[in-house]
Amino acid sequence: MIYIFKMEYRRCLVYKSEVLFSVVSSAISILVQMALWKYLYRDNWARAEYMTAYVILSVILGIIYSNTIYYTITEKIANGNFALELLKPVDFLVLHYMRSLGNICGQISFRAVPISILFWPIISKNINIILVIKALPFIVAGHIFCTALFMWCGLISFVIVESWAIRRLTDNTISFLAGAVIPIAVFPDSLEKIVRALPFQYLYDYPIRIILGELTGYEIYMKGLISIVHGFLVMWVVVFVTFRLAIRNCTIQGG
């Protein structure tokens, strides 16, 4: 398993120009959002700096919650190679998770870290390491939740040949409801009440607010953590059931 992880990690650096352009691409998208929030909060500089740090952390979390596993699973199902992987002495889902994890760690090393360095003067003003460690359980739980969710989207390829639409619907829903693009606090009150009742806020909004020191209080922290852990446990049960059903009902015609 560790070799699969290492292989995928090293594969991230095969096309160095792609790594460079990915960093530049992320940097430009951050700068666009930064310009918008700096303009909107031009009369409140502290808030503008908060929002700037929010945008940067959101992009970094987006890398950790990557949907790579969807692509690896869908590709294998679409070309039938999943049948060969079922013959291997490793679990299909664990195998793909290790591939995805290698890719995510590669993206963190070669994209998230350069972005953090690039924008360090901005984020260093607003965060401290203790709060980052405090938010880590949410980030790990969020990663596991997203992995399970996108794994399920990939397994849907057994039913729908091109499941990119399901992945896209999921991606956009998470981004919106989790506060990845706009903080949930900016939402209108009625919409904010609905979004706060859903578990997606624990993916972006909660950990970013913890890191930026806005969310304090042991009870709120534990309530959020229990909710996201509950979420990913439910999601993993759904994934296992879907996978078992898919394997039971699929027909491998050979070739």
């Binding site: 666009v32 918008l36 091109e162 209108p188």
Partner: protein
Amino acid sequence: MRKFFRLYRIYTIQFFKARAEYRLNFWLGILANIYSYFITFLNYWIITRRFENIDGWGFADMSILYGINLFTYAIAGTFVWYNAFQLEEEIISGGLDRYLVRPMGVIEQLICSRFGDTFVGQVIVAGIFLTWAMFKHISLLSIGKVLYFFLILISGTMLQIGAMIVVGSLSFWLNKSTKIGEVFYYEIRSLIHYPLSIYPVWIRYLLTYLLPWAFINYYPALLLLGKGNSVIDYVLGGLSPFVGVGVFAFSIVFFYKGLQVYCSPGN
């Protein structure tokens, strides 16, 4: 030209016959795009509801600004996104060779090779919001402005098609051009999702004189909504149709220049 459109119609009908075999995928794809871009408009609504406007641009104004960009991008994508924009795949696999031996222009064949059905969702959602926003501003519109609006949709589409062809054509020299296209086309073009007045002045110069993405929606919107701050804004708005045609013409020349240096990898 008439022959090309007749052939394009035949190819598109065949394409839809093939897609009809996977009806659920087809409709899901359109729904996914409608949902995705509806969320974007919803984000604008949330921001303008909270902050009233973005530098004087309310939700209806932002719908026109973003709607023109999205509509022209979607129409352009139906023609060239899957083929000319992703030309690197054809070049790397050697698939471009088959287009060279047929009695039809290469760009025409690329356009006919695939209809961008997934962009239909974007056309629908952009069309709905544009129509709503234009009705909201009906008091500002004259016959001339309505005609100008349709003209800039056409020229904006031509500009976007031209940009996609240029990005794809870079593959003739670089082999892989999609990542460059992502930076210079998608990321830098995302600056025009908001009024350029919120950015530093050099951004405006970049998007006017170097990468003319501002002529897709910003300057035309200034003219349509009467939001220009100076004569130059209205002049640039008036020049937008010409810039669109110019970029399109340049892209065709650029493509065929690239084709001259093309060296097939075989297949």
